[in-house]
């Protein structure tokens, strides 16, 4: 399984890519593989400011519904609109085309406290 070096990870199997004071957020290769075919990413928190670990949306596979937890506090700026028509991008390319939301971070140093590749790889046992 693929866990890129340049990302930070959470125990809920989300990843964060920091660009300045913005962060891109999605779910990991492990998460998409466990969920199976993703059919819907529902985010109704655009414009809202949330704390770390609050629910910012849900991801639905054919048979399951899972909450999405915000890894760092901040304001949800946008949803990856490609996912409205092609939710399977989350399965096919979880780290690039399958990103879910762009966030303006309230406190950019929070991201550094998340797991790096080595710690996350150890967590999921791959």
């Amino acid at each position: 399984m693929n866990f890129p070096d340049n990302l930070r990870y959470t125990k809920d199997h989300e990843w964060v890519r920091v660009e300045g004071d913005h962060a891109f957020i999605g779910i990991t290769d492990f998460a998409q593989s466990e969920l199976g075919d993703i059919v819907y990413v529902d985010v109704n928190t655009i414009g809202k400011t949330l704390n770390a670990e609050e629910v910012f949306g849900t991801v639905e596979a054919v048979k399951t519904v899972s909450d999405l937890f915000l890894p760092i506090s901040g304001t949800i700026l946008e949803l990856n609109v490609e996912l409205n028509t092609n939710p399977e991008l989350v399965n096919q390319d979880p780290y690039e085309k399958g990103w879910m939301v762009k966030v303006k971070m309230a406190n950019p140093s929070e991201a550094k406290e998340l797991m790096d590749k080595a710690a996350y790889t150890a967590l999921v046992g791959h």
Partner: protein
């Protein structure tokens, strides 16, 4: 204690996601639900459904017992024929739904849901005042459902029984993959066509391998319970425990066609009254108009936001690529074309009542 089926080691070797279902360690999916679902709709796929229960009833009085406990009229069956039926309880609900096979003049087989084997056995036994010979052969019976349009071509290679002569809801017994006394049944739970193959579990490994060998040229694949659920839901087939249960009447569930008032059976009077006078709620199929996926137990509301029912099954349909569901609604909302709303995470998402099945061949 979780039981294995005779095929569990094959599922593990294929890398299936496994889970406990009705006390059995069952394959949920192998390559992915959509992939497996479409393999069955377009080609052929094999389901291990050995967890299902099989009871054999024998003797002169077996028909009387079956007529007493089931709602459909089993006397209409000649040997070789099959009927969908249910066991009504005495409180207006359903103990289980089942298939009734007439194996011979005085021999019958009832195929019941895995989760209800013990409940059904004791329920039927309660009415067995004439000491009809009953055998629970569930533990030694293997069952594979081979479903999809190419299934008949693959399976025909394994038997001299002419499969095209086995019409829907009939069966034949014969030599299959070199094994005698295999029951080949033109039934399934997918609407994709195909057969269900019953045999003794000691032949399980051989038959599994022969079926996949025969299916290789059709890209046959193993299919898990998850795709079984999406396939049956596209057809509007009820799933016991979701769409029907101890509290839902056959009439509410749209199963009036398997209630025959030509004979006595459990709770006949109440069911006949419902059929005549109507019911307060009905099971309907619906398609989402706005974005959202209905799920079991989501509340159904009207335009004003008042609760009018509950979702019993829902999914994103892999064949139709839209969100579909079934649920009970107050009867005044049950007409085709009616707009209803599903409460999804506190949002009111529009849906429309539609005619079943969702998927039309």
């Amino acid at each position: 204690m979780i039981k294995d089926t005779p095929f569990t080691h094959f599922h593990l070797a294929l890398g299936a996601k496994m889970a406990a279902f009705a006390g059995y360690n069952m394959p949920i999916s192998y390559t992915g639900i959509n992939d497996e679902h479409l393999a069955v709709r377009n080609r052929t796929g094999v389901f291990d459904v050995s967890h299902m229960g099989e009871f054999v009833l024998k003797g002169e009085k077996a028909i009387d017992l079956i007529q007493r406990v089931t709602s459909n009229d089993a006397s209409k069956l000649s040997p070789g024929k099959i009927q969908y039926s249910c066991l009504p309880n005495d409180k207006g609900g359903i103990v289980d739904d089942l298939l009734v096979y007439r194996l011979g003049e005085k021999e019958w087989m009832l195929v019941v849901n895995a989760s209800n084997i013990e409940k059904d056995w004791s329920w039927i036994s309660k009415f067995n005042t004439d000491n009809v010979e009953m055998h629970n052969i569930s533990d030694k019976t293997a069952l594979l459902a081979v479903q999809g349009p190419d299934s008949i071509k693959a399976l025909q290679k394994l038997t001299d029984v002419n499969l095209s002569e086995i019409s829907y809801y009939t069966f034949k017994k014969g030599v299959f993959a070199g094994i005698e006394n295999v029951l080949i049944s033109n039934t399934g739970y997918t609407g994709a066509g195909g057969f269900e193959i019953y045999f003794e579990d000691l032949n399980a490994g051989l038959i599994w391998n022969k079926i996949f060998e025969a299916g290789k040229e059709f890209n046959m694949q193993a299919i898990g319970l998850a795709a079984r659920d999406t396939l049956r839901l596209e057809m509007g087939f009820c799933l016991y425990g979701n769409d029907i249960d101890d509290t839902t009447s056959p009439i509410e569930a749209g199963l009036g066609w398997i209630t025959k008032f030509t004979k006595e059976f459990t709770n006949r009077d109440q069911i006949e009254g419902q059929k005549k006078n109507g019911v307060l709620r009905k099971l309907v199929g619906f398609e989402m108009i706005d974005r959202g996926i209905p799920r079991h137990d989501y509340i159904i509301v009207n335009e004003a936001g008042e609760a009018i029912g509950k979702v019993t099954s829902g999914t994103q349909s892999p064949s139709l690529n839209k969100a579909i569901g079934m649920g009970y609604v107050k009867s005044e909302y049950a007409a085709e074309g009616n707009k209803i709303f599903i409460s999804i995470r506190d949002n009111k998402i529009a849906a429309q009542v539609v005619k079943l099945p969702f998927y039309k061949n």
